[in-house]
Assembly symmetry: C5
Homo-oligomer: 322 residues x 5
Amino acid sequence: MIRTLAITSEKEVVYNQPLRKLNRKNFEWFWVDFQEPTAEETKELSRFFRFHPLAIEDCLEFVQRPKLDFYDQYLFIVVHSINQATLEADEVDIFVSDNYIVTFHKKPVRDMNNLWHRVKQDLLLQESPLQIMYHIIDHLVDDYFPPVYRLEDLINQVEANTSDQTISELMEQIFDIRSQLNKLRRTIIPMRDLLYRIISSSRFNSFKEKHIYLHDIYDHLLKLVEMIDANRELSTDIRDSYLSINSDRMNRVMMTLTVISSIFLPLTFIAGVYGMNFEYMPELSGKYSYFIILGVMFVIGIGMVLFFHRMGWFRFHKGTKL
Amino acid sequence: MIRTLAITSEKEVVYNQPLRKLNRKNFEWFWVDFQEPTAEETKELSRFFRFHPLAIEDCLEFVQRPKLDFYDQYLFIVVHSINQATLEADEVDIFVSDNYIVTFHKKPVRDMNNLWHRVKQDLLLQESPLQIMYHIIDHLVDDYFPPVYRLEDLINQVEANTSDQTISELMEQIFDIRSQLNKLRRTIIPMRDLLYRIISSSRFNSFKEKHIYLHDIYDHLLKLVEMIDANRELSTDIRDSYLSINSDRMNRVMMTLTVISSIFLPLTFIAGVYGMNFEYMPELSGKYSYFIILGVMFVIGIGMVLFFHRMGWFRFHKGTKL
Amino acid sequence: MIRTLAITSEKEVVYNQPLRKLNRKNFEWFWVDFQEPTAEETKELSRFFRFHPLAIEDCLEFVQRPKLDFYDQYLFIVVHSINQATLEADEVDIFVSDNYIVTFHKKPVRDMNNLWHRVKQDLLLQESPLQIMYHIIDHLVDDYFPPVYRLEDLINQVEANTSDQTISELMEQIFDIRSQLNKLRRTIIPMRDLLYRIISSSRFNSFKEKHIYLHDIYDHLLKLVEMIDANRELSTDIRDSYLSINSDRMNRVMMTLTVISSIFLPLTFIAGVYGMNFEYMPELSGKYSYFIILGVMFVIGIGMVLFFHRMGWFRFHKGTKL
Amino acid sequence: MIRTLAITSEKEVVYNQPLRKLNRKNFEWFWVDFQEPTAEETKELSRFFRFHPLAIEDCLEFVQRPKLDFYDQYLFIVVHSINQATLEADEVDIFVSDNYIVTFHKKPVRDMNNLWHRVKQDLLLQESPLQIMYHIIDHLVDDYFPPVYRLEDLINQVEANTSDQTISELMEQIFDIRSQLNKLRRTIIPMRDLLYRIISSSRFNSFKEKHIYLHDIYDHLLKLVEMIDANRELSTDIRDSYLSINSDRMNRVMMTLTVISSIFLPLTFIAGVYGMNFEYMPELSGKYSYFIILGVMFVIGIGMVLFFHRMGWFRFHKGTKL
Amino acid sequence: MIRTLAITSEKEVVYNQPLRKLNRKNFEWFWVDFQEPTAEETKELSRFFRFHPLAIEDCLEFVQRPKLDFYDQYLFIVVHSINQATLEADEVDIFVSDNYIVTFHKKPVRDMNNLWHRVKQDLLLQESPLQIMYHIIDHLVDDYFPPVYRLEDLINQVEANTSDQTISELMEQIFDIRSQLNKLRRTIIPMRDLLYRIISSSRFNSFKEKHIYLHDIYDHLLKLVEMIDANRELSTDIRDSYLSINSDRMNRVMMTLTVISSIFLPLTFIAGVYGMNFEYMPELSGKYSYFIILGVMFVIGIGMVLFFHRMGWFRFHKGTKL
C-alpha cells in the first residue's frame, strides 16, 4: 500500500495524491509511505524516485544493520523497530531530502500511523521532512523501553523467588531472560552507534539545528544500554550467588552423611563381628561381655562425635573466617 | 513551593519577590527554586521563563539521565542527588543563564537549603549563577561518598566475618552489597560522563574560569568510580576464595567418608558372611577360625589404611604441588 | 595459470592477450589473474609489473594478515577468503592502479571466476579496476555469512537439545562450535580493521567516490562480528546454565543419599546389636522386647524424617529464597 | 616543621632563612618543605604564599586523588608515596613556580630528606624547582617497585608451594596477595593518568624540555601496571587450576567410594538374608548351599568390577579425550 | 667486545677501525656493536659518543620497557629479543643518527651477527643506519614466532590428549602454557605499542620513507598478539569444557551410588531385623514367612528402581532439555 500526504505552500494537507503530481513545484513538502508494498509498488522507488540501486537493495534485504548513507540529493537511513512480542527487529527504511520523506516498511508500524494523522495538527505542519524523521526515530526508540522494563521485572521476580518453582526452572528463566536481553542489546547497540554517527557527523549541518532532539534520543539509547547491561550483571550475580549458596548447602549435606556414616559403620561392624556363628568365640560366654561391648560401642560413638566436633564440622554452618 | 532570591546591584539580597518583578533591570541576578512544585507552579516554567518544551518535558519525566543541553539564552542541566536511604537517584533540574538560576526538584534537597541561606554571606554574594550551580553539583556529589563508605565497611565486615552468620547469609550479604554498588555505579557513571562533557566542551568558555572547581568535582567522581569498582572486585574475590576453600573442604569431607566406608564395608561383609545360618559351614567349627578371621579383618583394615596413605589422601590437607 | 582480460577504449573486452601487449596505450584498463601460479609465472610479478619486493614476498608467504600498503604507482591489498569446509583463511593478493588490477591467489576462488565472466556485461564494463576490487572484496565477505549462520543453527540445536546426546557430547559440541567461531573471528576482525583503515584513510581520495560501497562492506563485517560475539556469549550462557542446573541436581541426589543413609544406618546398627550371639543378653528374653525394639526403630525413623523435613531438605527442590 | 633552603645568584645554598626573606630579589630560587606541619605553620600557605583556598583545602584533606592544577603564578600537584609496610598511599602536595618549590606532607618522606641534602652538590644546584619536582616524583615512583616485587615473589612461592600449608591457607594467601595488588593498583593507576596528563598537556611547555625525564617516569608506571596485572592474572590462573585439579581429585574419590559401595552393599545384603532366623529356610540345609552362595557372591562381585571397568571408571585417572 | 664496521664513500666496508677514526669525515656511516661489553668498554658510550646519561643508565639497567627517546643528535631505542629457551626478554639498546648506528647488548644476539656479515653484500651497502635498525627489529620480531607456534602445538596436543596423562597433569600443562603465553604477551605488547608510537610519531619524518617496512613489522606484532590471545581463550575453553564434563561425570557417579545405596540399605535393614535373636518373634515360625519377606524385599527393590526410573535418573546421561 502506498499512502501519500502533501503540504501545500498554504500549509494545507492534501492526501492521496498520485505520485506523479508530487513535486517541488506543487507542494512545499510531501511524505510517501510504503506499507507492506507489493512488488509493483516497490518498483516506484527506482521508477519515480530514482533512488540509488544500493539503497533499494537495502530496502528489500531482510535484516540490515541500522545505517546512514549520504547520497547527493537525499539521505538514506535504516532504523529498527522492535516487535513487542518476539523482540525481533523490524526494518524501517527512510529517504529524506529537503522537500520529501519516503518511508518503506514491510510490516505495519503503529507509530507511523499516529504521526500520519497528527500531521493535520498545526504543530506538525510547521515541521520539515527531517523533523518527521526525528519523530519516527523518537517513537521507535520509545518502544524499546517496555520490553526492557518487562525483563527487569522478571529478574526482580526471580531474585525474590516468591513463585513456587524449582531451582532448575529458575535457572532456565534466567537463561531465557539473558537471551532476550542479548537480543535487545543487539538491536539497540547499532541504533546507538547510528545516532552517535548522526550527531557527530560534520555533513549533517542542516540537521544540526535539531541537535537537542537528537541528543535526547541518544540519551535514551544510552540509558537503555545501561539498563540492559545492569540487568545482565544482576542475572550473573544471581546465578553466582546461587552457586555459592548451593555449594555451601552441599557441603553441609555431605558432612551430615559423613558424620552419620563414620559413627554407625564401625559400630555396625562390631555388632556384625559378634553376630558371627563361630563355635568357639570366648567373648560370647562372659556374663558382662554384652554390656562391655555396648560400653565400647558407646565410647567409640562419643569419641567420633567429639572428634568431628573438634574438627569444627558441627560449627561449620556458622561463620567461617575466610 | 516557589522560593525566590534576588541580588541587587548594591549586592543586597531580597527574598520572595514575585516572579514578574525578577528581571535584568531590577536585579543583578536572581535564583528561583521550585521545590515540590504544584502543577500550577510548574506552568511558570513555560509561562514566565519560556523555557524550551523539550527541557520542560525533561523536568516532568520521572528519571532522566544526567544531561546538559545548550539553548540560546540559557543552559539546561539535569543532575542526580542520591537518596541516602534507598540509594535511588532523585533528579534536580537546573536552568542557568548569566543573570538567573532556576532549580527544579520534586523532592526537598537538603543542600539546596543550606546554599539558599548561605547566600546572605558575603562570600556567596560575590558569586554568579554559574557558581551557584557549581556549589549545587559539588554538594550533590559529596553526598555520594557516605553510601560508598558504608558499603566498603560492610564488605570489610563480611571479609573479617566476625559476626555469627552462616555462609548462606554471608553470600546473601555480598549479593546485596553488590546490588547496591551497581545501583550507585549506575548513578555515578553518567554524572562522571556529564562532568567530562562540561569540562571538555568548547561552548562552555564563560564557565572555563571555574575550570579548577569542575576538575575538582570530576576528580571526586573518578575516585568514587574507582572505589566502587575496587569493592566490586573485592566482593568477587571473597566469593571466589570462599568457593575454592569450600571445594577443598568438601574434598576432605568426601575423603573421610570414602576412607571409612572403604575400610568398614568389606569388613562388615566378612562378618555378615560368617553370620549366615547355613547348616554346613566348615570354617565355623575350627577352634581358631574366629581368631583367624579376626586376623584377616585386621590385615584388610590395615592394608586399606596403608593404601590410602600411600595414595596421599591423609596428607591431602597439606600443601599440594600445583 | 595466468589469465588476462583487457578493455579497449571502445569498451570491448579482449581476452588472453600476452602480458607484453598490456599497457596504457593499447587498453583503457586490464585485469591479470594469477590462479595457482607456477614458480615461473610468479616471477612476472617482478619482471613485468616490477612490484615492490616486499609486496611480492607477502604474496608468497603462506598466511598473511589482511593489509593495505600504498606504493607510488599502485596500492597493494591482501584480503582473506574463507574455505567453507575447514573455515581456514585463504589469501588473495590484489594490486590496483588506475589502469590495471592484478589478482594473485594460490587456490581457485569461485567469485573471481564469476566476476571474470560478468565483465562482458555492459554494467561491469563501465567500471574501473578499483571497482573490480570492491566487487571481489564484497563477494569474499558475503562468503563469510554461510558458516556463521551454520554455527548459529548448531548452537540453537544444542540449546533445544532435541537430539539424543549425552551431556558430555553436548559440551564437546559447544567446545567445537566455540573453536570454530573463534577461528572465524580471527579472520573477520582483521578484515574489519582493514576496511576501517580504507574508509578512514585520507590517502584514498580517488576511492572515496565509492564510499557508500565500502561502508556497505564494513557494515557487513560489523554485523558478522556482532553475530559471532552474540553466539559466543550464548554458548557461554548455555554452559553456565547447565552447570547451575547440574549443581542443583547433584544437591538433590546427595540429599536423597544422605536422608536414606541417615535413616537406615542407625536402624541397621540396632538390628545388628540384637543379632549378636552373646549368651547373656537380658533384653532378648522379654516377651514384648521384639515389639518394643520395633517401636523404638519406628520412632527413630520417623524422628529422622521429621528432622530432615524441618531442615527443609524435602522442600529443597522448591524455590529457594536467595 | 618548616625547613627552608635558598639558592643565591652565586649558586650558594643558604639554609633556614625565615620565610619573609625568601623572595625573587634575594634568591634565584628557594625550596620550602612543610613536614608534619603544625596548624600554625600550615597557615603560612595562605598567609605568606597566598595559595588558592581550593589548593590549600586539598593539602589538608586526608586522601586526595593525584592531581594537577594550573594556577596563574604556580602549578599545584598532588602525588602519592606508598607506605612500604601498609601499602597505604600517603599524600605529598607540591607547589611549583619558576623561582620556588613548596612541598607539604603530613608524614616524613625519606626521599625528600635525601634530595634536601643532595642540593649541596653541584649537580643539583644547576637545577630548577621544576627539576626538583621531577626528582621527587621519580623517587616516589621508584618506591612503588619493592612491594610489587615482594608480592610477585609471594605468588611464585604459592605456585611452587614448597611450604607446609593447607590448601585453605594457600587460598587465603592468594586472596591477601590479590587485595594488596589491588590496593597498589588503585594508587598507581591515578599516578599513571596524572603523568599522562602532564606529558600530553599543551600548557606545560616550559616543562617540555624535561620531556625525556617524564617519559621515563611514565614508562616505569606503565611497567608497574603491567606487572600488577600480570600477577593478578597469574593468581587467578593458580586458583582456577587448583579448582580443576580439585574437581578431578573429588571425582576419583567419589568413584572409589561408589565402586566399593556398589560391590559390598549387595553382597552384605545377601549375607544378611542368610543370616535371618526364619525357621523354614530351605536353602540353609543343603550341603553345598554355603559354597553356592559364596560362588554367587563372587560372581556378583567380579561382575560389578567388570562393569565398572567397562564403564571406564578405573581408567578415568588417565587422559580423557575432551 | 666492541666491533666496528664502517662504509666509505666508495661503498667499501672497513672492519675493526678504532673508535677515534670513526667520524663523519672519513666514512659515510658506521656501525659500532657492543656485545657483552666490559665495564671499561661501556664507558665509551659517554666518553666517545657523549650519549645522554639517562640513555646510558637505561643501557645498564637490567630489564627496561621497550622505549623510544628523541635526543637532539640521535634517537635512542630499546627493543627486546626473546630467549628461545626461557622465553625471557633480553634487552637490545640502539642509538641511531644519520651517520652511525650503535648497538648495545649484554648477551650475544644471533641476528646481529647475520646482519653484520650480510653488510658486505651490495644490497645492504646501499642502506642507511635507520634501515639497519629496521632489519634488527624485523629479525627480533621474527624470532617471537617460533615459541608462539610451539605453544599453539602444545595446546592442540592437550586438546587431542593423545598422550597418556592424568587430568591433573593436563591441567598443570595448561597452567604452564598459559604462564608462558602471558610471559610472551608481556614482551610483545610493549613492542607493539612502541612500533605504533614510531609509525604515528610526527617527529619521525626522515624515517617515514620506510613506512611500509615498519607497517610490516607492526602487522607481525598484531598477528602475534592475536595468536596469543586466541590461544589463551582456547586454553580457558578447554579448562571450562573439562569442568562441565567432569561435573556431569560426577553427577552420574553420585547417582549410581545413591541408587545402589537406596535400594540395598533398606533391604539390608529388613534382613537385619529378622536376624535378631529375640526369643519371641512371631513371624519367624510361619512356614511361608521367609518367602513372604523375600517377596516384600523384591517389591521394595523393584519399587525403588521404578521410582528412580520415573525421576529420570537412569535417563540422565541422555540429553537433558535445558
